[in-house]
């Protein structure tokens, strides 16, 4: 095998997954571009965006990998309705990790921006947005990951190769959409901040 062959093989194998997540990223970007009003209304929100998006990938990517491994080992049945205890525990742990990381990001962003003397929305506003966005997108992503991994496995596809592109694609879109929903809800409930 020459360098040229190795490069061609790597290029061909990576292009489809990268293209899929490119589409997801662009859609998320358009929603973010349309969120300028909300970003102005909640100073510090933009600082949270990368952390909230990465948390989705880190937490639900790892959930998908765990479920794939459990399927391969025969520890979990590929049926959502089975009410499997291991499956429920893995999803609950992912949701808890995702919420904790989101809250932590909000507190860290607030503390750093305050200590720098930068304008920042009140802490309860940022935490409420992070928690709501984390819960909504967490439930949606868990459902997508579990359903897609099971469906892929039943059709004889290796779930390991599905999880990465799926989570990066849907994670960005859901992450930004539910962030927008959470900001609107918090601004609505709290009046104009």
């Amino acid at each position: 095998m020459t360098v040229r062959d190795a490069a061609r093989e790597a290029y061909r194998e990576a292009l489809p997954a990268l293209s899929a997540s490119l589409v997801g990223g662009l859609l998320a970007g358009v929603v973010l571009g349309g969120m300028r009003g909300e970003l102005r209304a909640v100073p510090g929100l933009l600082v949270l965006v990368p952390a909230l998006l990465a948390t989705r990938g880190n937490v639900y990517g790892s959930l998908g990998a765990r479920i794939s491994t459990a399927l391969h080992q025969g520890l979990v049945e590929p049926r959502v309705g089975a009410g499997d205890e291991r499956l429920r525990a893995a999803v609950a742990a992912a949701l808890a990790n995702g919420l904790l990381a989101s809250m932590f990001a909000a507190v860290a962003a607030f503390t750093i921006l305050t200590s720098l003397g930068d304008p920042v929305a009140p802490l309860p506003v940022l935490v409420a947005i992070a928690v709501l966005a984390g819960s909504f997108s967490g439930v949606a992503l868990s459902a997508v990951v579990v359903t897609a991994v099971f469906a892929g496995y039943r059709r004889g596809r290796d779930p390991d190769t599905l999880v990465g592109p799926l989570v990066t694609t849907t994670g960005d879109v859901f992450g930004v959409l539910f962030l927008l929903g959470a900001v609107r809800l918090v601004l609505f409930v709290g009046g104009v901040v």
Partner: protein
């Protein structure tokens, strides 16, 4: 899982602070805001795919840290070629979608230039970071699969923001 997750979250807040520094500019040009998630995502994906492939080659014993090694050089070349394929689409896509939603204030060629220059810079950085982290993991006797992928993905996320913002300052 949780301590690692919190450290990674803190790193991402760091990249958010970089975005926050340029908030006024990003809010003035929605096309730039539209580039943010896709640039971060593609940079992280390029890094994580390269890391996964190098880890596998390492486990199979076909990888050596020598520029003449076909897996090392081939994957590095593929990463740059993928960036050169994808980032023109990223730039054009961000411009078209922002124009359709009624907010494009930058010329399409400016947006494509920003996307391609950032993408090329990010591909080179992704190769350097991934090879370095894989090498360090190997020297320390750590399993590259456990360590390299999360570290590389999050470092590339942060670099995605930094390189994008830096490119915008040069081009605009």
């Amino acid at each position: 899982m949780l301590p690692v997750l919190l450290v990674l979250t803190l790193v991402e807040v760091g990249s958010g602070l970089v975005l926050g520094r340029f908030e006024a500019q990003l809010l003035r040009y929605p096309t730039l805001l539209a580039l943010v998630p896709v640039t971060i995502g593609t940079a992280g994906n390029l890094g994580s795919i390269l890391a996964a492939r190098l880890s596998t080659a390492f486990h199979l014993g076909t990888l050596s840290f020598d520029p003449g090694n076909e897996h090392l050089s081939g994957n590095a070349v593929a990463t740059v070629a993928l960036a050169l394929t994808l980032f023109p689409v990223v730039g054009l896509g961000a411009w078209v979608l922002t124009a359709l939603t009624g907010g494009a204030r930058l010329a399409p060629e400016t947006v494509v230039t920003i996307a391609v220059a950032s993408g090329l810079g990010l591909a080179v950085l992704a190769v350097v970071v991934t090879v370095t982290v894989t090498y360090v993991a190997y020297r320390l006797g750590l399993d590259p699969d456990d360590v390299v992928i999360p570290v590389v993905t999050n470092v590339c996320d942060v670099l995605g923001v930094v390189v994008l913002v830096a490119t915008v300052q040069v081009v605009l």
